[in-house]
């Protein structure tokens, strides 16, 4: 049975999870980073711990919040660790009360006691523990201070029956609780009082849980009667009663209680959320990130790696193969297939990690939430909200987590639109393609050309969202509220972990997907309709690529090689580069650049990059879209739109460019 970690967003829950489990988890400083529940194992004790999305209450407003409530409804848990931000005690305790009412053993981790003191909040943990009737352990999750004590408290409390607290909600509500509880089955999660209260409050997940089991109308009738007797909503009454109970708890246990804002955060916010310079600062920051990734830092590193793969590594492998007496077939497979395919992609690891590093930095520092606010006006104009901007920035790293992060958007229609727009955000897997083509044809303006592709992706994504929001998915009830957490200096270790967590997928892909893909593609070039070991132009791959080549010729790249690379690119977009490496028989990027320079013109290269940017989302993204939308219709629509848009824009770029007279 699990130990479950509950807490408000931005309370350091994922940091605490990392301390408790020592696992490599992804930490971010904006609500909704934990998009799915993550499981780790308590250090040295072998107890599974689950990290749930941050919630303010058990009544979910968005899909990721629903994950936390559903956990209580469906999974047995041996203990709950409730992480509480000491500086926001009043707000955090609303969740605590609901967890205490549930009746599972609870241990409270009172986090950020150091920050709280700076903000004028000081709480007597022993008194609070006595008042709440559960252990309260002060911790500093960022440094790991207090986690040992917390682990001991959890192990001591775990699996022991714990009585739920019972706050007096007044005659009308108490009467309703009793009447609802009488009708509930005995196997209801937590206890009947908790379930009845959650139902009275209007918790959708609770209603959905009960709905499958019996008729809800008598319960709804009780709620209606109660609300008539009260003269207002039961939820409001319950909230107010809890709030009074919490005020009492704070009055008894707090030594100081001022809740001042942090001065440094105030100062930074005065600049980055300034109405005149807020947006320019964000754009300038993104520009610096791109320059560092592509021009200043990333490219020199990638070039070195490339020199290593094509020089020493190929030599060693070739000598090793010779020494082991490998057949020419195996030699060709390893050197022309695997080294060319996998190596051609691995070369881009430095650039991808630099980009992921900066995305992590933006998340961990707390700046991302400000970006959502600064961008909200623009997003509102196209029918989305500022929160949709965060999945989109994550989409720059990889579309798959971007699609998942859209769960934090409360409105289902806005969420769907965000998911549909996301594949146009240029992910890091498209980077190798740009790096190759822009490096070949636009060496001096590389950053600018790549930046223009990113901008094109954003423009297409937003344009489509606008189209959807004014036609298929009209949405009157757009909603935007966001908590802006205090800034914090990201810790080196956390930063490295979240960069690695995001980037390792790329390396893993190189070892699995791209490895397998490279072997398959090489085999397709090795065999042809008329036998094996055929010349490249008579191979099976040439035949397949040749099928779609005529279609692509108006876009400027009608050779079968381009067609074949695009088809295999559906597996993962970086496979486009692997395929080209294999087709053109080269092991390293510099050799490939020469071949490509002969096959493409600057204009057709740009048109090709535009096509790769926009055409079908990769296989993994398609799977994520299918899972998140739960509909094949939307998934296929997403692919169809992407192909159409890619074709139209590439055609426009190439034909217009030709007329204007670009080479």
């Amino acid at each position: 049975m699990y130990v479950a970690l509950f807490g408000n967003p931005n309370t350091g829950k994922t940091s605490l999870f990392n301390c408790l489990t020592g696992s490599y988890e992804y930490v971010g400083n904006w609500s909704g980073v934990t998009v799915e529940k993550k499981v780790g194992v308590l250090r040295q004790h072998g107890v599974p711990v689950v990290d749930l999305p941050g919630v303010y209450s058990l009544q979910p407003l968005s899909r990721d919040e629903g994950v936390a409530t559903d956990f209580l409804l469906t999974e047995p848990c041996s203990a709950i660790v409730n992480i509480v931000d000491a500086s926001q005690l009043r707000r955090n305790l609303h969740l605590t009360v609901q967890l205490l009412e549930f009746g599972c053993p609870v241990v409270i981790a009172l986090n950020m006691v150091d920050v709280a003191e700076k903000r004028g909040v000081k709480v007597d943990a022993a008194k609070l523990s006595k008042y709440l009737g559960v252990p309260v352990i002060p911790v500093i999750a960022r440094t790991g201070k207090g986690t040992n004590e917390l682990v001991h408290a959890v192990l001591a409390a775990k699996d022991k029956p714990h009585p739920a607290i019972a706050i007096d909600y007044g005659a009308e509500v108490e009467n309703a609780i009793r009447r609802i509880a009488e009708q509930l089955p005995d196997d209801v999660p937590g206890n009947k009082r908790w379930a009845a209260l959650q139902f009275l409050e209007g918790n959708e997940r609770m209603a959905a849980y009960l709905h499958g089991r019996f008729d809800l109308s008598p319960l709804a009738a009780i709620r209606e009667e109660t609300e008539q007797a009260l003269g207002y909503q039961a939820a409001k009454h319950i909230y107010e009663t809890r709030d009074r109970w919490i005020s009492e708890a704070i009055a008894v246990t707090a030594i100081e209680f001022e809740q001042k804002p942090l001065t440094l955060t105030e100062k930074i916010d005065a600049v980055v959320t300034n109405r005149y310079v807020g947006l320019p600062i964000f754009l300038a920051l993104m520009y610096v990130v791109f320059m560092l990734t592509f021009n200043w830092l990333g490219t020199p590193l990638a070039d070195r790696l490339d020199a290593f793969f094509s020089g020493p590594l190929t030599d060693w492998l070739s000598r090793l193969l010779h020494w082991t007496g490998a057949s020419p077939f195996i030699k060709a497979l390893v050197l022309d297939g695997v080294v060319a395919g996998v190596g051609g992609v691995l070369v881009f690891v430095p650039q991808i990690f630099i980009l992921f590093f900066f995305i992590s930095l933006l998340e961990d520092s707390g700046y991302m939430a400000r970006v959502a606010m600064v961008m909200d006006r623009m997003m509102e104009a196209i029918g989305l909200n500022g929160k949709a901007f965060i999945p989109m920035i994550i989409g720059f790293g990889c579309n798959v987590p971007g699609v998942m992060a859209a769960r934090t958007i409360e409105q289902p229609k806005e969420r769907l639109m965000t998911i549909l727009a996301l594949p146009f955000m240029s992910c890091s897997a498209r980077l190798p393609v740009y790096a190759l083509f822009a490096g070949t044809f636009f060496a001096r303006e590389q950053a600018l050309v790549v930046f223009s592709l990113y901008v094109l992706g954003i423009v297409v994504a937003l344009g489509l969202a606008k189209l959807f929001s004014s036609t298929l998915l009209k949405n009157e009830n757009s909603l935007f509220v966001i908590e802006l957490p205090p800034y914090r200096v990201p810790q080196a270790l956390t930063l490295w972990r979240s960069t690695w967590e995001k980037g390792k997928g790329f390396i893993r892909k190189a070892g699995t997907f791209i490895f397998g893909g490279s072997v398959a593609i090489w085999l397709l070039t090795y065999v042809g309709p008329r036998g094996v070991g055929v010349p490249m132009d008579d191979s099976l791959l040439a035949a397949i690529g040749g099928l779609i080549a005529p279609l692509l010729s108006p876009l400027g790249f009608g050779a079968w090689q381009a067609g074949a690379a695009l088809i295999t690119g559906f597996l993962a977009k970086e496979v486009v580069v692997s395929t080209m490496n294999i087709i053109y028989h080269v092991h390293e990027a510099s050799g490939l650049k020469k071949v490509i320079a002969a096959q493409f013109t600057p204009l057709s290269a740009f048109s090709f990059m535009v096509f790769v940017l926009l055409y079908t989302p990769c296989l993994a993204t398609v799977a994520a879209i299918r899972k998140e939308t739960g509909s094949w219709k939307w998934t296929l629509l997403s692919i169809g739109i992407a192909l159409t848009v890619a074709y139209m824009i590439s055609l426009l770029v190439y034909q217009a460019g030709k007329i204007v007279g670009f080479p």
């Binding site: 609303h94 939820a235 109405r275 909200d376 409360e410 935007f480 802006l484």
Partner: protein, 73 residues
């Protein structure tokens, strides 16, 4: 008077949340925006964009339309 009538940096007391959307009201309550609370207008984004308010030392961003439905004194 409503929240958006405040000057930048001005503080007022919330009198009523005249917000129709139940979900939004719930979220504001849980963020600590409710009757009797002190709120401070910290910043307003351009072109009618969101406003940034402070409650209990915590900053929150919300749209101007909704902020205009929060009555203050």
């Amino acid at each position: 008077m409503v929240l958006t009538d405040l000057y930048k940096g001005e503080t007022a007391v919330v009198v009523r949340l005249a917000i129709e959307q139940e979900a939004l009201k719930q979220r504001l309550l849980h963020l600590g925006v409710k009757e009797g609370k002190m709120v401070r207008l910290k910043a307003a984004m351009p072109f009618g964009g969101p406003v940034m308010v402070e409650v209990d030392g915590q900053a929150i961003g919300l749209r101007r339309k909704e902020a205009a439905s929060i009555e203050v004194r």
